[in-house]
Amino acid sequence: DAMVIQNPRYQVTQFGKPVTLSCSQTLNHNVMYWYQQKSSQAPKLLFHYYDKDFNNEADTPDNFQSRRPNTSFCFLDIRSPGLGDAAMYLCATSRGTRGEGYEQYFGPGTRLTVT
């Protein structure tokens, strides 16, 4: 059974048109992360939530926002997508952020195309 679910798997949006990607988890993990992965590059952490506490990476553009209405769901909002935002967006969860047992469980990703 899927533990980290991302919908949709493929999303096409127009330049400048807001888009929302969703992630849900059945693991009841405290932490949820969003990563951006461009072609042939490593995943890059955008931000994460520890419960309701939002933690933004210093170099994440303001164009990217996130919401976590409850433990199970987390959303990535791109307010005005540019061509450079085309990428795979990965959601991940973990029980905690310190020490052993810190492994992250990733979803399958949403591939975003900007036209």
């Binding site: 490593a42 952490l45 994460h48 990965l90 959601c91 310190r98 020490g99 810190y102 990733f106 399958p108």
Partner: protein
């Protein structure tokens, strides 16, 4: 955050043992060492994690010397399905992915 250095790519044949080494000279005292595997168009998958010495699970072993400035992921008897990118990560509060090692297993 401490930086990791891995070979960009490695080639192997089915049935061989593959060892991928990651250098992390500036590893912090609290950092754990974690390895992930990623197939094309999929999210990374946790392989193994360790702090020091040797850790073994059903799919891999992780060797960490006493100074912890490097670590080696060992994959026994690889198969074609082990062709993937392997990432070495350090972290205590958060993980930062390095460039990864692209492993190609041939028949």
């Amino acid at each position: 955050l401490a930086k990791t250095t891995q070979p960009i790519s490695m080639d192997s044949y089915e049935g061989q043992e593959v060892n991928i080494t990651c250098s992390h000279n500036n590893i912090a005292t609290n950092d754990y060492i974690t390895w992930y595997q990623q197939f094309p168009s999929q999210g990374p998958r946790f392989i193994i994690q360790g702090y020091k010495t040797k850790v073994t699970n059903e799919v891999a072993s992780l060797f960490i010397p006493a100074d912890r400035k490097s670590s080696t992921l060992s994959l026994p008897r690889v198969s074609l399905s082990d062709t993937a990118v392997y990432y070495c990560l350090l972290g205590f509060q958060k993980l930062v992915f390095g460039t990864g090692t692209r492993l190609l297993v041939s028949p």
